[in-house]
Amino acid sequence: MIARLLHGVPRHAFALLAAVLAVLVAAPVFANDYVLTILILILYSAYAGQAWNILMGFAGQLSLGHALYVGLGAYVTAALYVHFGIGPWVGMPLAILISVACGAIIGFLAFRFGVGGVYFAILTIAFSEFTRIGFDHIDWVGGSSGLFLPVANYTRNDILLLRGQPVMFYYVILALTAVAFVICHGLLRSRVGYYWQAIREDEPAARALGINTFRYKMIAIVISAGMTAPAGVFYAFYYNNLFPEQTFFILRSIEIMLGPVIGGVGTLFGPVIGAFLLTGLSEALQELLTHVGLETPGAKRVFYGVCLLLVVMILPNGIWPPIARLLRLERRDPET
């Protein structure tokens, strides 16, 4: 299995990846709490972006409603914890299951009725907005006034209940991101991955090659939704508060896709690079603005917008492909 995953990966690419991972693992040793917080933010968006990328980047179906799965993951585990004291790792499978079910329903409706392209995107918005307003009215999860997890000053890290200090959260999200990366790598190399790309490139042609496009699009949305849910679990236990207004909001969905779009849709490294650049740069900008005494709430978002505009206009495939060429990381011949 491992041998298969490594098949055809250039050796220096592997070395580079190992080096990056080593730096990230060692980061808490020399990073202060502020830097750690930013790294957590970066890894979080890299993870969520990676999950979104499966649906859009691999299978070509534009989802603008991924906040739905984040929100479901967050609310399910948080509610179980608040009401019954059930830990997040126990709640997570259920959260994933519910996300998967929602993804399956949306996918079934959309793909069975042939809703594609921008119409599919609008459908996903409709579903996530629908859920957002719905959650406003579920008192069990606090409705529009929010759901709060008990906060205390934790001195000990309790990994089982996900209660503790930033360092613990850092390693959790790092592990999630690494696992997501490996899963995506494996998917891309599998039969499913090839079929997704064929569907993304030209659906009728894919069908003529014997691909049941409905089935493979369903697989894509189900995996993508299921992988997004843990991001919500992390969100809930890291921030300790949930508001439908924020968790399900359409801007959340847009933020999820910014990383991959800027990094490179459909590439493995795109979501990661995009998250590092976007979050890293915008935090640096905010720091700079605070230093010169210009604290404005919208500055970060304007920066997001400008980044997105520039990348979409100048590098329609994102910034990863040119970097990959520079580092000579294209796939090699399996025989050599």
Binding site: F113, I125, A126, F130, S144, G298, G305, V306, L308, L309
Partner: protein, 247 residues
């Protein structure tokens, strides 16, 4: 774009005490220019790109505009107090706010002007031809690029007029823009893309649904029903209620 217009109206009113309804035309004119230029500079190179790419572009532009407004005007709501703000008329058993009545009349005026333009003016017909068949329009010698920019400017102008009208009724905050954009989307897709009667019907349908839902359930859940209608329309009649069948 709508919020830009709303803020324009608010600023003009606050500075010079100009009535938003009177300012409707100048604001629309200004937005026409902004829209025209923006289309030519930013959007035109994207005509041939895939849909999601164009969509991202619009998202980027929207993010920039909304948050620039946030920086300039701050997150607090701003409102206009016209001299007739507290007047009302009695229409039979109904009592109507003067502001709402004026706003409604102005909206009807703009909509009919637009309808007439697309139905009867040669330019309006040319724009419809472009939308119908890009290549065909090129072949018969229409300057498609200019027409695209023109229609974008026109769209911006209408939105500008709408913004000027609605400040009479609603307080302005930056996040209002995306909310209205979403609502417009829902209405147009429900009614049928490219169909003016469809947009009207969609507007009435969505408006009625929200009002009824607000009455029978709770007002804050009313948009849920609008989205439910959108989902049903997308699934069973993706071209919209009044739209022509897609090939």
């Amino acid at each position: 774009m709508m919020t830009v217009a709303m803020y324009l109206a608010v600023v003009l009113f606050a500075r010079f005490h100009l009535d938003p309804l009177l300012m409707m035309l100048p604001i629309a004119g200004l937005l026409f220019i902004i829209g025209y230029v923006m289309q030519l500079v930013v959007i035109n190179p994207f005509i041939a790109r895939p849909e999601h790419s164009q969509f991202m572009l619009m998202v980027a532009v929207a993010i920039i505009i909304v948050n620039s407004l946030l920086i300039i005007f701050g997150p607090d709501a701003q409102a206009v107090q016209a001299s007739y703000s507290f007047d009302s008329f009695a229409l039979g058993p109904l009592i109507v706010d003067a502001t709402k009545l004026y706003a409604g009349l102005a909206a009807i005026l703009v909509a009919s002007a637009l309808f007439a333009f697309f139905r009867f003016a040669p330019l309006g017909k040319a724009i419809r031809a472009c939308a119908d068949n890009y290549t065909g329009a090129l072949v018969i010698g229409l300057d498609v690029k200019k027409l695209y920019a023109l229609s974008f400017g026109l769209g911006a102008a209408c939105v500008g007029a709408a913004g000027a009208i609605i400040v009479l009724i609603v307080d302005v905050t930056p996040p209002l823009g995306p909310a209205y954009t979403l609502l417009a989307f829902v209405i147009v897709i429900t009614g049928g893309l490219g169909s003016m009667p469809g947009a009207l019907l969609g507007g009435v349908l969505i408006g009625l649904t929200e009002a009824m839902a607000g009455l029978f359930f709770t007002p804050s859940a009313k948009s849920m029903f609008a989205f439910a209608i959108l989902v049903l329309v997308l699934l069973f009649r993706p071209q919209g209620i009044m739209g022509r069948k897609l090939s």
